[in-house]
Structures are given as C-alpha cells and as structure tokens.
Symmetry: C2
Subunit: 416 residues, 2 copies
Amino acid sequence: MNQTETLLQRRERLLGPSVPTFYRDPVELVHGEGVWLWDADGRRYLDCYNNVAHVGHCHPRVVAAIAKQAGTLNTHSRYLHRGILDYVERLGARFGHGLSQMVPVCTGSEANDVAMRMAQAATGRTGFIATDATYHGNTALVSQLSTRRPPVGGYAGNIRLVPAPGGDVDAEAFASSVARAAQELEEAGHGLAGLMLCPIFANEGFPDVPPGYADAAVAAVRKAGGLVLCDEVQAGFGRVGSHFWGHELLGIAPDAVSMGKPMGNGHPVAGVMTRPDIMAAFRGAFGYFNTFGGNPVSAAAANATLSVIEDEDLVTKARDVGAYARERLAAIGHPLIAGLRGRGLFFGAELRHADGSAASDATADLVEAMRRRGVLLNRIGPEGNILKIRPPMVFDHGHADLMIATLTEALDEVAP
Amino acid sequence: MNQTETLLQRRERLLGPSVPTFYRDPVELVHGEGVWLWDADGRRYLDCYNNVAHVGHCHPRVVAAIAKQAGTLNTHSRYLHRGILDYVERLGARFGHGLSQMVPVCTGSEANDVAMRMAQAATGRTGFIATDATYHGNTALVSQLSTRRPPVGGYAGNIRLVPAPGGDVDAEAFASSVARAAQELEEAGHGLAGLMLCPIFANEGFPDVPPGYADAAVAAVRKAGGLVLCDEVQAGFGRVGSHFWGHELLGIAPDAVSMGKPMGNGHPVAGVMTRPDIMAAFRGAFGYFNTFGGNPVSAAAANATLSVIEDEDLVTKARDVGAYARERLAAIGHPLIAGLRGRGLFFGAELRHADGSAASDATADLVEAMRRRGVLLNRIGPEGNILKIRPPMVFDHGHADLMIATLTEALDEVAP
C-alpha cells in the first residue's frame, strides 16, 4: 500500500472504478452491535438503513450459531445434513398456498435466477414481466429485469417492463399494462412464464398501494398461464410488521417466493420456496446444484435468525415501533414532507417543494446531513426524493425518538 | 416430521425430487476435522474428495477468523472496510498478466456470470466458446455452457461448444475447433466475447494435457478479438501443487480469472480477478453490486484461508503428497487401472476393461466399495470411468497410504 494513498483510492485500485458507496464522504465501519455501527474514528452511528443485519448487527445468538457450526462441520448438501431440512420445515410453516419446498442458494440474485427458471420449467414458456423501476438482482438473466443500464447486445426479447405502481398507475392501469405485456409476449412467441414483483414495490419507492392492489394484475397473469413470482428479499421476514411476508400484506398467492438479504443476518443465505409441482418441473428441467447453498453453517445462521425473530417477537415490534416512528415523522410538520410511505420498519417520507416538484437535491442533502449527525439512512424512488428508513428489527421507541429529533434538526439545516 | 419418514424421504419432501446426493446409500455427516469426516453413527471417513474444505475441515484458524469477524461487524461493501482490500491486495500478488482488480461475489456461478459479462463489456461482442463436457456453474447464463440439459426455450445462439481436450483431441484439433467456432460466431453476428476454460479441464475428466496445449487455441481466440476466461474454481489455490493457479501450469495468460469453492474453506466466497482495463469496461457497462460479496466476514474467511495455505506450505505439500500418492497408485498394478491422471492433489485413475472399453460400472462400484470401507472419493469424465481424488490440502503421506491400501482391497472386491 502506497503511503499517501487514501482508503478510497486504495479501494478503486483494488476493486476498480465506479464501485458504489454510500455518502459523499463514505463511512469506514469497524464494528456493529444491535442498531449501532461504529466508524474507524470510534464514532457511533444509529443504523436506520441496514436490513441485512435483520435481527441487529452481530446478534450474539446468530454469531454463536455460526461459530459453533463452522467449528463442527461445513460441507455441501450432496451429503445429508439435518440443518437445512430443519430450516425448510420451520420456514415452510410460515407459508400458505402450498409453498413447502425450497432450493437453497447464496444470494437474492441467485434466488431470482432460479425462480425465473422455475417459471420457465413449469410453463414451458420464456417471457417475463416486471415493473420499469425495479431491481431484482444482478445475474445476467435477472439484470434483464432492471432498466438501470442496457445489457451488451441489447435487451432480450422475452422481457416486458410495465409502468411501476404509484402516482397515476392505479390497480386498473397496472393490470391493463400487465395484460397487454402478456399479450405482446404471446404474440412474439415467448409466451408468459411469469410476473416478478416485490410485494411492497421497494425499489419503485414503496408507493402506498392498498391490499388487493395487485389482484387484477395477478388475474391477468393467471389468465395468460403465467406464474406469480414474489421477491421477498426486501419485504420478507416480518419487515412489514403486520405480516411475516409482503405478499400476505398485498394479499396475493405467489407460486414461488425468493428470499435473501435478511435470511442469515448477513451470512450469505438465500432461497426460493415453491410448490411441489413447480419444484418437480424445475428439478426435471435443470440439474441444479449449488455447492454453498444450504450448507450446515448457512443453515445454522438462518435457523438462529429465525429463532431470534420468533423469541424476541420482532414482527410485532416492527409493527409497533414502525407505527410510532411514522406518527412522529408525520408530527414533524416540515413543509418539505409531502407524505409518508411504508409499513412496519420499511418506511419513509416523500419530499416535495411547495410547487409539487420532487425535492431530489434536498433529499440528497438531508441524507448527508443525517450522516454528519450520526444517523445512517438513504433515499430511493425514480426521482430520489423518498427518504428510505429500514433499520434492523431491534429498533425501538428510543431509537425512533433519536432518529426523529435528528431528522428535525437536519431538515431545518437543509431547508430552513 | 412424520415418525416413519426416513431422512431421505424428509429431504425429498422439503427440497424436492432429484436433488443430487453422493453414494447409493448417502452419508449423513455431522462433524469434520482436517481430512476426516464423521457420520451420524460416529463412523469416521477419510475424505479424499472435498476441495471446498481446502485447508481441512473446520480449520481452527479459519473458524476463529469467521467467529471473530461475525461478532465484530458484518455489513456490505458500500461502506468502506479494509478486510476485502487487504485480501485483494494479497491475492493480486499471486497473479501476473496485469490481473490486479477483483469483483467479490459469493459463488463460482456468480463469478463466471460476471466474467462472461466482463468479456462482453470489454469486446462489445456476445459470443462464447467452451468445451462440450464442461460445467462452469448454474446461473441461467453460465448454465448455457453446460450440455447437461437444454434450457427451456433452447440454447442461446451465442454459445459454441467444442470437443473437449483429451483422447483424439490434441492441441491442434482443439485450436481448430476453437477457431472454427469463433468464425461461426462472427458469421452469426454475435462475434467472440471469450473462451471460458478450466485450465485443468476438471469436468472433462482432467485429461493429461501438457503445458502449452492451449497456446494455439488461445492464439485463435486473440486473433478473433476475444478474451480468455479461466475458471479456477477447481484448479486454483495451489491444488495442482506445481503452481498456485491452473493457468500457470497450462502456461496461458488469462484476461479474467474466476475463483470459488476453496477460497473461504466453505464460507460462500468467490470472485473474479481481472485487469484494470477490463474492469473499467465492466464497471462502465453494468452497475454491478453484490450485497454479500466481499463482506467483512467473507473477507476474513478468505484471508485466513490464504494465510493457512501460506503458513502451512500447502502448495508444496500438495505437490509432494500428490506425487507420492500417484506413485503408489501406479504401483497397485490392478488390471482395471489403465492410466493415471492429474497433478498435485487433483488426480485419479482411468479404469478400463481388457478390451479397452470404459469400466464405468466397475468405477461406480469401486466408489461405493471405498465408501463402505470408510474412504470418500468419486468419479468423473464423460464415461464416468475416472476415479476422482481431490482431498483437502492437508492430506499427508499417511493418509495417502491408507487410501491406497483401501483402494487395493476395494479393487480386489470389485474386480477380483
């Protein structure tokens, strides 16, 4: 390492250019505990953003489970091991709609890549529909569902992106777009394999869609013979507070559910849960095996995370603390705050100027002002004007108070 | 759990049908240590197969590193953290050919998916060449390189599979096929983005190809403007004994190298190392981010694994013990053993009947006979007649003696 090289320069030298960071002056983190993170200078931050550390940074039960299993056995699932079976059994009890079998993988991207092939295997068709403001992962296939940058060689013909829910896109408009896209895929010879959606439309800026919103769209998918794939990477494991899964909140019956980030509290664990008929079609079509997927340590991390969610009653807590925090957010009454969004511990505020235009720059400044004050959060939405608050699930009333007090100050700084 | 359900039935109920297992009577493993594995009945097995537990099952230094970092901080790389940078710096020193920057991911499949898109980004073309007896992973894109089962909707037009090295396919024939495939891709309008190869052709049955074998094929790829992508998931990290990387043994200069399985001794860690110019093209073309990729715990596992390889001099050990084991394997002199293959601690024997036909069934029986005698290994190759021996790198002369003694007995049982 060059003596005069900064940490950021070193990062660019070793990881390459344009590797995303958070904040204009990125934070170097060295320690985490519960909802708290510490930087290299010993400064403490209230973490209002990280959903991967779902049950709190470095939760002692998850750490102990990982350490114990890593010291006992870690090998792949071509040998038999009860860890992954115990986990799927427990998790399966959390699902309805006949979803009872899982393909264990390592990342949400792998999960969605598998879910899409499940839909292809079950339907014999290849086309997919997603929204035009989404992100479901980064494999070559799954990244076709993202509009961020066109793939080399152009978009594949079997993908249709429909206008995202929210704004003028009401349930009827959404259903019409989905039906039209299915029709186009049929006419183009691809046919509809499935609709992939995040049931809280997280990357779309979590618009305030009511339960039942997607019913007509789902009906259109079924009519066209496609499957409904729910990406619960962001919504799942009790994040929304009122339910364990986002699709329960939305009120739809998915054919396959992808899970990722929060599943192992940071350990690379992910999976796809589906019905036996779809699993059989997938297993018949693909000789799928994932070396690290469902290994004993990953299963131990996932089992411990689920135990903590249950034993610390974190879903109820997400509901109550989330409701409290949104109430207090509404009470701030700053003119930039044009509306609240979200459910449970995935919520935020939409920032608009008096003329109704999106306050994108002010939102960006606010995120930085919060970071300077020791509170980590971020922003999202097509216009980047939606404050995104998504803390570890052990976030309590006191943490919410601190966040709101800091936000009040920061808003006054950014837009006095 | 149903009281009368067997473990295999339970596995099928929860993971679905046709999930691959090893052995006719699959082993339920509960503990591992070094080259040893124990089953649920307390029986000990000599592990001659598992390359994921590269420095030995449950190596205390790797376990301690994982436990310590999991209890300190585990978050994603949008925050700054020195762990992944230290690792890439150390690993980069192991590479020549200007390879110095890494994309950290979680699985070998993700690594190859990224490597293929690097080639597309750097060349602006989309076509790929691989061998017709290979396997490079299981994302939708990467599985197109496998002939195992056709994807739903058929193979993509941008893939050409050429006859695998070995048998009649000498260096010249291999190069001709590659040149012809590149020409076809050009004529079909895809152009050649890259050739993907495992430098020891592991899944092709690790034929005995000499250094320089791939030179003409590589020249054909370069002439067509494509990149050379090396999949070191099986060959890398000193496995071949004589060199740290398989591509050094083969004597080629890759443009990107994918790594996986052994990298974190079982922790889901993988990556792609490439040159800054290719990384810049990739980063310019794709807004790639991997939540779990390069996280502090994964980096700690990878750093500890690399330290053990270095401090226990495991590459030299792989060379010496591998040479010794092959010598003893040759000395068995059983008529079924038609030839030896491999290098370092990735080796095996080809089994053929007196009439020259592949002894596929006998090889299958031998694998089972070894398992019954407490030694785990497997078979590979297009005809399944090549014994595959690939133990953790802490395999020593005594372990080799035990394996050879057991193999001698098992051969006598299978083909007296």
